[in-house]
């Protein structure tokens, strides 16, 4: 059945979160650096165990916030200078009165940047994925915990299988890339 298809990952299933976390630690200690886990809820410390240090989302949020604040402030300055109205002798560029809208545009741009960078870095949205073909994978959103060694140029399939086998998972399956586009 696997003929002609490229391996995507070797997938081991566990019934407990603790077993997954232990397994992840052991695989990392054994030198696997292409380990990924799939869980129904966020597990404390799992991403760090797998070597996740991406600070892209916080950085994008900060950049979005700064952009929003500056853009909001100068929008108001520009508009008031473009069409000057003398209202009770008040200054055309009153920073205090401009703070509220600058704050709102800052929040808006920061939040949009946070969501957009979260989705982009996670590779979402995506309608299909090789993992979805696996008959057990739907349990990853229910009550099962999956540990995967992703296939890559340097991955030895037999070694990956053996390493996962050692963790005595509930099931061990292979996931293949799809045919076609």
């Amino acid at each position: 059945m696997a003929k002609g298809k490229r391996l995507y990952a070797v997938l081991a299933e566990f019934s407990r979160a603790e077993a997954l976390l232990d397994g992840a630690r052991q695989l990392r200690a054994a030198g696997f650096d292409n380990v990924e886990a799939f869980t129904p809820f966020p597990i404390e410390g799992l991403a760090e165990t797998l070597g996740f240090h991406d600070q892209g989302v916080p950085r994008a949020t900060l950049a979005g916030g700064i952009f929003g604040f500056v853009a909001g402030f100068f929008l108001q300055v520009g508009v008031n200078l473009d069409f000057p109205l003398d209202i009770g002798g008040r200054p055309l560029v009153p920073p205090q009165a401009f703070m509220l809208i600058s704050f709102e545009t800052m929040v808006l741009c920061a939040v949009i940047a946070a969501v957009a960078s979260m989705l982009r870095r996670n590779g979402l949205p995506r309608l299909h994925h090789p993992l979805f073909d696996n008959p057990r994978f739907h349990l990853a959103s229910d009550d099962r915990f999956f540990l995967a060694i992703m296939a890559g140029p340097g991955t030895d399939r037999e070694r990956a299988r053996a390493a996962l086998e050692q963790l005595s998972p509930a099931t061990l399956t292979e996931v293949f890339e799809r045919h076609g586009p």
Partner: protein, 441 residues
Amino acid sequence: MSSAAPPYGAITREVVSIPPHFPARRTWWMLFLFSLLLLVLLVVSLAVLFLRGPGIWGNNIPVGWGFPISNYVWWLGIGHAGTLISAMLLLLGQSWRNTLNRFAEAMTLFAVTCGALYPIFHLGRPWFFYWMAPYPNVMDIWPQFRSPLTWDFFAVLTYLIVSILFWYIGIIPDLATARDRARKRRWQVFFGLFALGWRGSASHWARWRQAYRLIAAIAVPLVVSVHSEISLLFAAGPIPGWNSTVFPPYFVLGAAFSGFAVVSMIAVGLRSMLGLKDLVTPWHLDMLGRLMLATGFMTAYGYVAEAFTSAYAGGPEFETLLDRVSGPYAWSYWGAIIFNFIPLQFLWLKGVRRSPLPLFAIGLCVAAGMWLERYMLLVTSLYRDWLESSVGYYHATFWDWALYAGLIGLFLALFLLFVRFLPVISAFEVKAEKAEEARHG
């Protein structure tokens, strides 16, 4: 570490199976038909409004701000509790929020939608509402950024977009769960599209958490800014009864108070309609009762501070205060005090906080009391000036009430659709909470 793993599968089944196997079809349809009737009223009252203009309302000179603005403040206030429950309690690590946050956020979305429509209808020519946005136009006219009215436009728009995004990224993992459980093709497509291909990988969760917590941290000051902005519409004007420095915090806390009241009502309603008694426990109702009690007392402080400053200031401020407590609109002042603070005292009793019906009744009283408060603040400051020419009374007309009832119908209809088609409780957060409990014993 306990030996048995928590029952994750049971949580999934209880929450995710609600839309495909809806437990209370008959109740749902009855409520939905009722809200559709109110929606018809909304459509009719809007048609009449567009044909004949705001003259159909009781608004007049000097009371140019009637129902549209007091109801706007009331609706947005209700919305704020959803964000506070969700974001503030997340940051404080209060894991009991996990059962409440999803529907509290949905309440925010729909309440803000209803609230935001009011100023637009109040414009007189609502189809030109986009003139409030700064866009280059052939008339070379820009919004007036030194006026609180434009602040409002930005505040409400930002609040609506941020609430939608916060709610949506919070629901994506549960949509993925629903997608994986769906049997029928139409549910698979529906959930599959909106789950965006979520797979729950460790890096997905790590980035999701970063984004979710950051948005929560930004959303709390956003709530404060939005309702402070609304109160500045009042406080920035030199009108006795409005021109008060206590207004921003007083409005924000009153907003949270009315919102917690409505969240309590919704929690009680959903719990009995969908049979969620193991997830929304008496303990959750207890916590909601405590939140209502606490914010109620903070709101009461606002009443006292406002009365004290006007008594201290004397002059027109004091006369307005006297008029509020004994004038022709004294019913709204005393109504607000009675509905807001008398039934509230029963929440000191643990038994009352934990029983659904009394909690629902107190929530209803507070929602009505806060509505009376907004009405009182608006009308009593405007209807009588110190000039003969600007004295007049305000009475809501049939169309004022029709529009208000219609918007309640819109809120109900949207909320019922949410209950019918989406997971109303955040299943993955409840699971994470159970896992933490199991780990720490």
